[in-house]
């Protein structure tokens, strides 16, 4: 074997080992039976249930608002568009701790909009609603970015065709643009889902870590770390499984898109 190919193979082996050993360790450190037992802990179940609910609500908000917003950004051009797109994407690169502080400063009890939020009868801080806000803030750019790209990739004459066939733009959006962009929208949803499930810093700072109310799975893992390593491992195993499932489904959807979406 030549030296250079051998070097390449070695680099890949090192990277692969480094990236997979920790994940494998989660599953081999304790037996599967022990992991499943640990999930029975009340704190663990509460955290799983809360993560599920908060993520579902955040995703619903992201889809309902993000889809039309992404469509607008993808199909219209206006002068402030680059600025708007940059602002929408900003939370992508924002450190989670900064996101938490920013949310506190905006809609926290003493934030600039805190009074208005309280007056509307909405309680965010130390409440599940606060978790939803944090997850939405952090995860929505992942969806909007992907959705924008998906809409932009759809042939605009499809929308023109829909209109000349008697459908309003709103109807064309629902009947043509969303179905045609669906693979991309699905990928964006999966990315946002993954980001929301793993959210830690912003949730901790903005909503706190109260079992059953604001303690999502990542927060519970951190809380159990010192006292109940077994449960922390079990919860981590669940997140690994979900993450793997998300990645796999995105790859499947993209594979189908490549097969069926090509004009031919």
């Amino acid at each position: 074997m030549r030296a250079f190919p051998a070097l390449l193979a070695l680099a890949l082996a090192v990277a692969l080992t480094f990236l997979t050993v920790p994940i494998v360790a989660i599953f081999v450190d304790s037996s599967p039976a022990e992991l499943i037992d640990s999930l029975g802990e009340p704190g663990a179940l509460d955290a799983l249930w809360l993560s599920l609910r908060a993520t579902a609500m955040a995703l619903a908000l992201i889809l309902i608002v993000g889809t039309p917003a992404a469509y607008l950004l993808a199909t219209r051009s206006f002068r402030a568009k680059p600025v708007v797109v940059t602002l929408v994407e900003l939370p992508l690169v924002l450190p989670p701790a900064v996101a938490g502080i920013a949310l506190l400063a905006a809609v926290g009890p003493s934030g600039i909009l805190g009074g208005a939020v309280a007056a509307a009868g909405i309680e965010l801080s130390l409440q599940t609603a606060g978790v939803v806000v944090a997850l939405t803030f952090v995860a929505s750019p992942f969806y909007v970015r992907q959705a924008m790209a998906a809409f932009a990739a759809v042939d605009r004459t499809l929308l023109d065709a829909s209109r000349t066939l008697g459908a309003s733009e709103a109807r064309g959006f629902v009947r043509v643009m969303v179905p045609a962009a669906l693979p991309g929208l699905t990928a964006g949803t999966a990315l946002a889902l993954g980001r929301a499930l793993g959210e830690f810093g912003a949730t901790l700072m903005f909503a706190g870590s109260f079992q059953g109310i604001t303690q999502t799975v990542p927060l519970a893992i951190y809380a159990k770390l010192g006292t109940d390593f077994e449960t922390a491992l079990a919860l981590s195993a669940v997140l690994v499984a979900i993450s793997a499932a998300i990645l796999l489904s995105v790859k499947l959807v993209h594979g189908r898109e490549a097969l069926g979406g090509a004009p031919g």
Partner: protein, 355 residues
């Protein structure tokens, strides 16, 4: 009746057109790409709003910038066939056709769509997705979908250009049948004069945003009013300097040498146009017998291309020209690239346009 008037700037193109198509008529708008053909269709359909313009369809006014009228595309009863057909990829053939059908139960929508597909011989492929259909099949689905809208006006954007040459002839025949059958005025856009002549009752030649000549295909071919139209309709175009000669004929000194005579009048720089099928070919060795043919140019054969039962010759004389003769004649003359021949045609087949 469809009337479209539009005046607008589109990037570097200044579009300024006014045309009218009567009921049951098909006007072909022919011109090179970038001439503004598609923009005219988009104005008619309401997908492009001109700075100044007016669109009337029958008794309805769809656009009148002077009066602030601009009916949205979905309310104009236009059947628009897009260049690549724009079939919805996530819907089957019958669902595509059913798209404009609304306000009726699903069963009836399906029945009507199948009926339209049947008419195009596409009943069996009703459940196929557009991606799995051939170009010709897609065109049929697109036509069926447009007819489902019961259009008051038909707009067709290069409907044959997405097809390979073998399916194009059949698809053109089908399209011609649909155009004959549909009462609605049709506006059809193409970059190919032969296609325009085949499908249009009238042809408008458009260049750089303006309709420069309009008429029946044979009128355009016989009396082109500009070098562009002559060239576009397939004529050989030569350039030279014209001056009045004997007997009221015009004599033209060609750029690059040689002289031809025309029955048209002209003075100064002109474009000389003659159709390839008017040009006779003789071997250069033959003595030129006195006859009615006035124009003779000696030329070298560049290419010999068979087109059906005819042969198209590319010739290098003082300028390049093309001649079309029968295959039999070409065989008898033993023509091949490099042969020297004399190209002859009558002064009365020679059109002059000032340039």
């Amino acid at each position: 009746m469809l009337r479209v008037e539009a005046e607008t700037r589109l990037g570097v193109l200044a579009l300024d057109v006014a045309l009218e198509v009567s009921r049951g008529e098909c006007l072909a708008l022919a011109g090179p790409s970038g001439a503004g053909k598609t923009s005219v269709l988009r104005v008619a359909a309401g997908l492009l709003r001109p700075e100044r313009g007016r669109v009337d369809a029958g008794a309805d006014t769809w656009l009148d910038t002077a009066r602030g009228i601009d009916v949205p595309p979905e309310q104009r009863r236009c059947g628009y066939v897009f260049q690549e057909y724009a079939l919805f990829p996530h819907l089957t053939a019958w669902q595509n056709v059913a798209y404009p059908l609304r306000g009726m139960p699903r069963r009836e929508r399906r029945a009507r769509s199948l009926g339209l597909l049947e008419r195009f011989g596409m009943r069996e492929l009703a459940d196929a997705r557009p991606q799995t259909l051939s170009g010709g099949e897609r065109q049929r689905v697109a036509l069926a979908r447009v007819l489902a809208r019961d259009p008051g006006v038909l707009l067709l954007d290069e409907p044959l250009s997405a097809l390979d040459p073998r399916t194009r002839a059949g698809a053109a025949r089908e399209l011609a049948a649909v155009l004959r059958e549909v009462e609605a005025p049709a506006l059809f856009v193409t970059h190919d004069f032969a296609e325009a002549a085949q499908l249009g009752n009238r042809v408008g030649v458009i260049d750089a945003g303006r309709v420069i000549q309009e008429g029946t295909p044979s009128e355009l071919a016989a009396t082109p009013q500009s070098a562009f139209v002559a060239d576009f309709t397939g004529a050989v175009v030569l350039t030279g300097m014209a001056r009045s000669g004997a007997d009221g004929l015009t004599s033209v000194k060609l750029d690059g040498g040689g002289e031809v005579t025309s029955t048209d009048h002209g003075e100064g720089p002109v474009a000389v146009s003659v159709y390839p099928w008017e040009i006779a070919i003789e071997p250069v060795t033959a003595a030129l017998a006195p006859g009615s043919t006035q124009n003779h140019l000696s030329a070298e054969v560049l290419s010999v291309t068979r087109v059906g039962n005819r042969v198209r010759l590319g010739l290098a004389g003082p300028q390049t020209l093309a001649a079309e003769i029968t295959g039999v004649a070409a065989d008898e003359l033993g023509l091949r690239a490099g042969a020297r021949v004399t190209a002859s045609w009558k002064a009365s087949a020679t059109r002059l346009v000032a340039i």
